[in-house]
């Protein structure tokens, strides 16, 4: 804490001493209060938090003990350096994903207080050391240094090494957050955070692959040869300094500590600059917002004149905003009334709304992945049912994803026909993507598995399942809607609605599967009676059956939607 040390010494002699009292205790208390009040919100949240903390601490403890078990092993230094680097990387990217979760990360909340950046940095750094993350880092990095510490000198070096790693990690996280505050508090930044769920999932898979590659002796050997470079990347030098102390290479140890401290100093300097910039410059988001509006303001007096021009301008430049091509390809009767605008809005949302986009991308990716796994592991072609199933599930909780904007639907929906068309628009928007996708995935898998003979029945079953899920999804959306939190990227339901989600997903899938039974029975019967030549019939039967089930359930659900408009609004607006 180089830069911080100068102010940290100022205790609380009060104003009379000429210097303002230290704000460190205030920030520490603030952090503790924020933690405590976060837990006070609901019992479920408290339980979740406690379980999460226990698990992550057990994990950290396991990591630490694992590292200690490596003590004396040839690979211990490589493992210690790698672990430290992973910790550092985790801290660096964490604010990008969890910014919204921690109010104390956002320095702009403090701009109105008469605080100078330097005491602010000390206070923020100290308060950041409180929490589960720092404890996790402390446990893991202690394990790392114990793994490489041999002898008194090394043990003496281990204590500052752990402290340096911890403070560097926390400062890194804070500096990254401060440098990116503008981005992270902007709408685009929040959109980015919503997509981070995907990144985290993919990252976890990559980490998994990496870990299994490393756990072989060959992998660790390769890691050891890389260590020569890795140990100089902060915050690893601090840990490697302990190993240098164990070997008696005190000069190297000194250089490594100096390297770590210099990096920390640079970090704090970067953080200081970002903070200063944040605290003195205005929020650029409002400046941007004011631009076009301000430019329009003087035109007010000329409104009458511009009214005349408006018609011409609108017709000249706005033709492109009319409709998306897909809707035009469908029969006019099918997309009559509000169906077409509803479909267009759904498509706009799939592209522009990060949550919808992430859900669709996940459905598409996993729906492709599972048949692929079947191909790789020479599994069954029936894995292709996942493609249609996962996309069909997206029909569930249609109105929850609208959030309180559902009032615009409620305010314009008057007749039963309107309700049918509203539901049809949503179903068609999904089907237009799901039907071709299922066909392509199933055909591809059948070709790769050399099971083209089973293609018609698989595709027929898929289409029947998709139709059943679209139908039951529409009904569940009307009967069991739940609110989707708009600001929490990781939750798919607002607190206290877990039961409803389970009811939707589990009950819906079961009902969908039950509705498919006739097609399944036909397939099984044809197999059992050795009528393999007639199995192609499952495809047209399944397709027609799926279409009929979906449209029948939509028609049956429509009057219920009309009756329940205020009730649905009351539920989905609760975010």
């Amino acid at each position: 804490m180089t830069a911080a040390g100068s102010v940290a010494g100022t205790e609380r002699p009060g104003r009379r001493a000429g210097r303002p009292p230290s704000v460190v205790p205030v920030f520490v208390r603030l952090k503790v209060s924020v933690l405590r009040n976060g837990l006070r919100q609901s019992r479920g949240r408290t339980v979740g938090w406690v379980v999460g903390v226990v698990f992550s601490l057990l994990y950290a403890l396991g990591l630490g003990i694992g590292m200690i078990a490596l003590r004396g092993n040839d690979y211990a230094p490589a493992a210690a350096v790698t672990l430290t680097l992973v910790l550092g990387l985790g801290w660096a990217v964490m604010p990008l994903f969890f910014f919204g979760g921690d109010d104390t990360l956002d320095p702009t909340r403090l701009t109105m207080l008469p605080l100078r950046p330097r005491p602010l940095i000390t206070a923020l750094l100290t308060s950041s050391l409180i929490g589960v993350g720092p404890l996790f880092t402390l446990l893991a990095s202690t394990g790392a240094v114990v793994a490489v510490a041999h002898g008194t000198a090394a043990v003496a070096a281990a204590v500052p090494a752990v402290a340096l790693v911890l403070v560097t990690c926390v400062a890194l996280s804070r500096a990254v957050a401060a440098a990116n505050t503008r981005l992270l508090t902007s709408r685009r930044g929040r959109d980015l955070a919503l997509l981070s769920g995907l990144v985290v999932a993919v990252g976890a898979q990559l980490a998994n692959l990496g870990a299994s590659a490393l756990s072989s002796g060959h992998g660790l050997h390769r890691m050891t040869s890389l260590t020569a470079v890795l140990r100089w990347i902060p915050p690893a030098p601090a840990v490697d300094a302990v190993r240098s102390a164990s070997r008696g290479a005190y000069v190297l140890m000194g250089v490594q500590f100096a390297c770590g401290a210099a990096f920390l100093a640079l970090l704090l300097r970067w953080w200081h600059r970002s903070l200063t910039r944040l605290m003195v410059s205005p929020d650029s988001s409002t400046i941007q917002a004011a631009g076009p509006e301000g430019a329009q303001a003087p035109g007010r007096t000329g409104r009458v004149i511009r009214l005349g021009r408006a018609g011409r301008r609108a017709s000249a430049s706005d033709g492109g905003a009319r409709s998306l091509g897909v809707v035009d390809l469908l029969p006019r009767r099918l997309v009559a009334g509000r169906t077409a605008p509803v479909m267009e809005r759904q498509f706009h949302y799939l592209w522009r709304d990060p949550r919808s986009r992430a859900t669709l991308a996940t459905g598409l990716a996993v729906g492709l992945l599972l048949p692929l796994v079947a191909v790789v592991q020479h599994g069954t072609i029936y894995q292709c049912l996942w493609a249609g199933g996962l996309l069909g599930m997206q029909m569930y909780n249609q109105f929850g994803t609208d959030s309180s904007a559902f009032w615009m639907v409620a305010a314009t929906l008057g007749t039963r026909e309107d309700a049918v068309r509203e539901l049809r628009g949503r179903a068609l928007a999904l089907a237009v993507i799901a039907v071709p996708y299922t066909a392509v995935v199933t055909t591809g898998a059948a070709l790769l598995l050399r099971r083209t003979d089973a293609l018609p029945e698989t595709l027929g079953l898929s289409l029947a399942f998709l139709g059943a899920l679209i139908g039951t999804g529409a009904y569940a959306s009307v009967r069991f809607p739940y609110a989707v939190p708009q600001d929490n990227p990781f939750g798919n339901a607002a607190p206290g609605q877990g039961g409803l989600v389970v009811l939707n997903v589990l009950g819906g899938t079961l009902c969908g599967a039950a509705l498919c039974l006739p097609v399944l029975a036909l397939t099984v019967a044809l197999h059992l009676t050795d009528n393999h030549g007639l199995l192609w019939m499952v495809l047209p039967c399944g397709a027609v059956y799926g279409l009929m089930v979906a449209s029948a359930v939509l028609r049956w659900t429509a009057p219920r939607l009309l009756d329940r408009l205020p009730e649905i609004l009351a539920v989905v607006a609760r975010t």
Partner: protein, 290 residues
């Protein structure tokens, strides 16, 4: 309904409603009115959230063609009332008629005759301003060419032409209110319900909104808007209803509700039982000390 005095059916709002609510002159309203039906007629409207009654028996009759202000302190039940009147919230009890048609029995007729700008509810914000209006117009069943014509005009009049290709999620508060107002006006409704249309709106946008609303009422439309800014209501409205604690404590033409009080603010404070002044205990405040 416990003795609330909505405007009497015979005089339709021409009499003052200055008596405090608990005054208890329970008048019977004659429902078989002569002449055109009132813009809004509310009878015995109730809404409870748990133990608390947010709206506790409202009777109100709003004459057509007026600029009506629904005023009251925070938590008085204005938003709950407007939500029930516009069909977005189901009342526990009571009846609501818009231009003589029941909101819950005849939703088609009512929904096509009213425009709504709710407070605290989102729009479909991932659409651009222009897309939002076109989408709304088509949901309302207007022909596409007409929707596009009206959209262009509304965007222009509301000074939103420059931002028509921007996503609504990136709009400022004033711009959001204006695009919401445009969406509410698009189908040329007979009655317009606006919940806090001026809240958080800059003076320039407020003036634009005001101009549009004045023009709308001049051509026979009825505007019902809620606010707690008395100066605004006094300068805009010719008819007001005062809410407090989930009830209507007074309603009628502005001059009658104001009565002998110098301003509507004073009349309002007297009606809701608050006093001017306050802050006498803050004797340390001011005089440059710390």
């Amino acid at each position: 309904m416990d003795g609330s005095q909505g405007s009497g059916g015979t005089t339709r709002g021409e009499t003052a409603r200055l008596e405090p609510y608990y005054g208890g002159s329970a008048r019977t309203d004659d429902d078989g009115g002569d002449g055109p039906p009132p813009a809004v007629r509310v009878r015995g409207l109730w809404k409870r959230f748990g133990e608390q009654a947010a709206v506790a028996g409202i009777d109100l009759e709003v004459p057509a063609g007026r600029f009506v202000g629904l005023v009251g302190p925070n938590g008085a039940g204005k938003t709950t009332t407007l939500s029930m009147v516009t069909g977005l919230l189901r009342p526990d009890d009571g009846a609501v008629q818009i231009v003589g048609r029941d909101v819950w029995a005849d939703p088609v007729a009512v929904k096509s005759r009213i425009g709504v700008l709710p407070e605290g509810l989102r729009l479909f914000e991932r659409l651009t301003g222009r897309e939002l209006l076109v989408y709304t117009g088509r949901l309302r069943g207007l022909p596409i060419a007409e929707v596009e014509r009206r959209t262009g005009r509304l965007l222009d009049v509301l000074d939103l032409s420059g931002a028509r290709h921007k996503l609504v999620v990136d709009y400022s508060t004033g711009m959001r209110k204006k695009i919401g107002l445009a969406a509410a006006l698009l189908h040329n409704p007979e009655v317009l319900f606006l919940d806090e249309p001026f809240e958080g709106v800059d003076p320039v946008s407020a003036q634009v909104i005001r101009g549009v609303l004045e023009r709308y009422t001049a051509t026979g439309g009825t505007v019902v808007f809620s606010s707690h800014v008395m100066e605004l209501v006094e300068s805009l409205c010719d008819w007001v209803a005062v809410m407090a604690g989930g009830r209507i404590v007074a309603s009628g033409p502005l001059a009658d509700v104001r009565g002998t009080a110098p301003t509507l603010q004073d009349a309002f404070l007297a009606l809701v039982g608050a006093e001017r002044g306050g802050g006498q205990d803050l004797d340390w405040l001011g005089r440059g000390g710390r």
